[in-house]
């Protein structure tokens, strides 16, 4: 397949030398225009609004109100807890990806099955899991049937565990995405990688953990970043439909996005929503920057130029 490279362009001479910046601009500008259209005005108006109340400049008053709100603190804390789902999800995705890679018979069936949750619309997921996790729902019926009634819980009704239940649903739905991403990368790896280890006689999982994992590290990091961002800024749909827009029971599943949404729409406090959104934006930005640092350190030399 490498021969493609040599068949391309038999002309002599290099292209005109234009600065890399100008060249890049041509490629990037279509995306740039759309991004500025969608985010430009919105973000500016968001930032200005966060410093105003009723059209008047109020400096940091909105921020003080938001940051001292126990509800917003709770919401941020819950987003932080949800981040702990990410390593579990990444590990599970990796385990499933290598297992699928090693499976010949029925691979396409299993792969389709594992990917299915990612296909289902979130409202369906909410309605179905709402049923399964009820006090008299499928899960507790199942647990009772196999003699584990001690583990039966009011999964969505008990404030202490509701966030964990929510996390399990997010995990269930998002893990398929990771499996597909990682599997795509593993399949694209050269086979020699695995042949060498077969000669060593290394165990199945050890081979993949010590040999495959470093090879696909950039995809693992990519998936981790995406999921970390999901846990902080894109869980709205899950929480909204699973808790009927309340973040309940009590405020046990309240997250920042829901706080922002409620401030803007139910509570008619767009200035507080803006201030909270700015805080959330800065938090996530911090997270992403930290991740990029780690990514550059861990994969430089493995991939890229």
């Amino acid at each position: 397949m490498l021969k493609q490279a040599s068949t391309v362009g038999a002309r002599n001479g290099r292209p005109r030398t234009i600065s890399a910046g100008q060249q890049a601009l041509k490629w990037i500008s279509p995306a740039g225009i759309v991004l500025i259209f969608v985010f430009g005005y919105s973000l500016i108006s968001l930032f200005t609004q966060s410093f105003r109340y009723d059209g008047k400049w109020v400096a940091f008053e909105n921020f003080t109100l938001v940051l001292t709100d126990p509800l917003f603190q709770t919401a941020l804390k819950h987003n932080f807890y949800l981040l702990f789902t990410v390593p579990v999800m990444v590990f599970l995705a990796f385990l499933l990806a290598v297992t699928l890679f090693e499976t010949r018979r029925g691979m396409s069936f299993y792969r389709a099955a594992v990917f299915l949750p990612y296909v289902l619309p979130i409202p369906v997921v909410a309605v179905v899991f709402g049923q399964i996790y009820q006090l008299r729902g499928a899960l507790n019926i199942f647990l009772t049937a196999i003699g584990l009634d001690g583990f039966a819980q009011d999964w969505l009704g008990e404030p202490k565990i509701a966030l964990g239940t929510m996390a399990s649903v997010i995990l269930w739905k998002e893990v398929g995405f990771g499996v597909i991403l990682l599997l795509a990368h593993i399949i694209s790896l050269p086979s020699e990688v695995f042949e060498a280890s077969r000669i060593d006689g290394a165990g199945f999982f050890r081979v993949h953990w010590s040999i495959t994992r470093p090879q696909i590290m950039n995809t693992i990091v990519f998936f981790s970043v995406i999921e970390a961002i999901t846990m902080v800024s894109w869980v709205f749909n899950y929480v909204y439909v699973m808790s009927n827009g309340l973040g309940g029971p009590g405020d046990s599943t309240l997250v920042s996005e829901l706080y922002i949404y409620r401030s803007a729409f139910s509570n008619k406090a767009p200035e507080l929503a803006a201030a909270a959104a700015v805080c959330l934006f800065l938090c996530t930005l911090l997270l992403v920057v930290a991740f990029f640092r780690i990514q550059r350190r861990s994969i430089s030399g493995t991939f890229g130029r």
């Binding site: 369906v124 597909i180 042949e195 165990g203």
Partner: protein, 282 residues
Amino acid sequence: MSITRSGIHGSLLGGASRYLLLTFMAATALIPGYIMFVGAFKTQADFLNSPYGIPASLSFGGFRSAWTDKFPQWLINSFVITTGSVVVSVFIASLAAWGFAHFPFKGRETVLGVTVSLMVVPPVVLLIPLFQVGVHLGLISTLRLVIIIYVGLMLPFSIYMLTNYFKSIPNSILESASVDGASPLRIFSSIVIPLSGAPLITLGVVNLLWAWNELLLALVFLQSNEKRTLMVGITGFQSRYSLDIPTVMAGMSIATLPLVVAYLFGQRFFIAGLTAGSVKGE
């Protein structure tokens, strides 16, 4: 095909236990889909009595109330929005990603960083300002506006993913082409794109699912009945005081079916795309 998958079987995690794991995961993944599908054929009373069993008698009431006169229109709207936004987003994201990956211009990391960081903006906070822009341009309740917004929201992720991928294409391939005198456009269209089947298809699928299932923006920006998307139309069956589960399930089944069918039929293509990427990393 350069893949050999023999040889690592039979050791620590034996074949049987691997299948056990896969079967367990597959079952976990399939059960909710099953509940949705059989739920669609029940009556409300049946569903509340036995939500999980096979329906005693098939009821099409859920489908009947889900399939309103606007349903075909909603389906078309969803189809137009999804296709439009996926095609546009993947196309311009791949251009931009190539721009980022191939040209080491000054400030590249910063621009890329800012672009990617837009991913962290929750769509919720964009609703009101974007609506103001939409009204200003007279584009409320048009599919065009929703497509542009979807493209904008999908771009940061798409650019990040593709840049990551393009960067991992070995230099040696690209350099030999440059030596042969190919222009960046030529290299892009005849080397990079053919090598990137897997990420492009994966990205297409991810964007497709997101656009098809998106709810919040569609709710607010498509105000007329004729312009609604399928997901919005169906969520309308849910309510403040009542929840007609079979109707919701039936609607959801119909809404999910195109995706599942597309996925099953597209699998071969999908696999081809995945394995086409196998040359990279060499």
